[in-house]
């Protein structure tokens, strides 16, 4: 069976086939046998040519969180990831214009007002989470088109706080 996964926004494919007690893995270049078992609901033991590996895994909707030998992976299933994957370049400017909190928290201060011109690295807002204040800075030069949150609001990292526009 063929599998596609997004890791760090890169698409990876792998084929995994059941063959008697083991699985045959093919990644396009090599084909080899692995012995793989759940040892608990969140841990997989993998034996490849006598080498023993332990992979910890947890699922959250379309995401899988993996930890193995000191490396952390966030893996997404292709359907869910495709939108983000396909978007590519146009995301970056949009991201810069729609200013979001880097983490869920509470708005402490909005440091700019609508129609105000902003420089690169100018502080736009201060968001607090877990008792630490974090300054959100502009990554572009332009002006404030719209302010979408007020001090005291709880914000997440998905919805914008401030909308910027470039000058032209």
């Amino acid at each position: 069976m063929e599998f596609e996964f997004l890791i760090d926004n890169e698409l990876h494919t792998l084929s995994l086939e059941k063959k008697e007690d083991v699985f045959v893995v093919s990644d396009g270049e090599r084909t080899y046998e692995v012995d793989i078992q759940y040892v608990s609901p969140n841990a997989l033991s993998i034996l490849i040519e006598g080498q023993s590996h332990l992979v910890y895994l947890a699922r959250d909707e379309d995401k899988k969180f993996l930890s193995l030998e000191g490396q952390q992976f966030l893996i997404q299933e292709p359907q869910a990831g495709e939108a983000a994957y396909g978007k590519g370049d146009e995301r970056s400017l949009e991201d810069e214009l729609l200013v979001k909190a880097p983490m869920p928290g509470k708005v402490i201060k909005i440091s700019v007002s609508e129609n105000e011109e902003v420089r690169k690295n100018q502080t736009l807002a201060i968001v607090e989470a877990m008792k630490m204040e974090n300054e959100i800075k502009s990554t572009i030069e332009g002006y404030v088109k719209k302010i979408l949150a007020a001090p005291g609001d709880l914000v997440d990292s998905e919805n914008p706080i401030i909308e910027l526009a470039t000058k032209d």
């Binding site: 893995v25 895994l57 928290g105 008792k131």
Partner: protein
Amino acid sequence: MFKKILIANRGEIAVRIIKACQEMGISTVAVYSEVDRESLHVQMADEAFCIGPAPAVESYLDMDGIIQTAHAARAEAVHPGYGFLAENAEFDRLCEKKNIVFIGPNSKALKLVGDKVRSRQTMEKAGVSIIPGMKRIPKDLSEFESEAKKIGFPVMIKASAGGGGKGMRVVHSPKDLKSGLEAGMREAKSAFGDESVYLEKYIEEPRHVEFQVLADNHGNVVHLFERECSIQRRHQKIVEETPSQALTPELRARMGETAKKVMQVSGYNNAGTVEFLLDKDKNFYFLEVNARLQVEHPVTELTMGVDLVHQQILIASGEKLPFKQEDLSQRGHSIECRIYAEDPLNNFLPSSGRVLFLKEPKGPGVRHDCGIFSGSNVPIYYDPILAKLIVWAEDREMACQRMIHALGDYVILGIKTTIDFLKDVIAHPQFQAGNTTTSFIRKHLGGWEGKKKTEEGLTLALIASAFDSLNKTHTGPAVNRGALRKETFSPWQSLGKWRIGGKK
């Protein structure tokens, strides 16, 4: 001895205190905010009461609410843990007034040492050396400006009620003073409910060495040696150890005696910590008293064979200290790593959310003081500390090795944590050489990028994900592996590269 104690805290420290009470045969009362209903301290306590909404000011900082709960539950004493009300003299005084024993210092001593500016005055008078800086809180900005000029930049802004790095900022030039003061005051206000800040000379590349002190209600005072807490980030300790590599036996004895003197002139009782800065030339300056159980208390416990929470409770109930200074000596070496819900790859931003999976490290000499579990929620409202990993070994070298392996054996999935970052701190040659100063992180791990993902790692991750996806229609795969095999590996899957619809 008390029959019932209310623990006015949450997270790992509430759990730690509940365990101590259980061992001493004391019933426990937990209090919790609306977002903490499912948390570990609520599960473990004998009784638990909701004391308000998520924001700490409306729950864990609500003095009247907590005292009413203590009365209603007939708790005789309150243990405040660290943070929240632990160093709030007003709460301490209120407890005294309402006939509840506050497990900590008396309110007068707490008020004195809790006021960083007043305690600086007191210590200077007693002949204890202090860091040059303000000895009173200025009224307006111009006073800060002139004082900063007098002290000389860089200066350190500190919260008068401070602790834990909150409200603290280094200001390198006059133009940054105003914004630094504003931010420091806001943070101080939200963390302690008091926005007073003051300025001190910023001592570059110091070591942070503190002494644990126990003082009973009968005038007996002992110190339980030092903890070195130089590994800091944003003025927040992240790794602590004892003994310190910087102290000679002579210096250790001198600092220990100074620590006892600080507590004596303050009229202090119960457990407390005297913090010093140690400069490059081994001069030490009194920094402040932490009038509470410290986050890093376990390293002292493991090297001293003394349970500090037990001692706090015994002292508060009127017992005399069971040992004298000459009975006390350290054995072996202990290191603690604080596990924070922060993303070390993204400027250490807090990472709230659901802990999808937790695997606790285990083994000889490994202790894990933990406030989370698989499935627990980490809210945005409180300090990001999740747990503490503490190791003990015969010597420092072995303690480092033990810590590195324990961190490697520690898995938290679902939120970002500092585990991998801490592993690289301990494994760093300069840490192993004992060259620990407060600028260690900035100097040696400033641009930390995490462990590079290897080809092999990537392949293993793909194999595991594919295998897991094959089985994902089944909940709880390991619970019933027999049934899983039968259903999962049906002929449909063994048909191989074949898909409905013929796509691909």
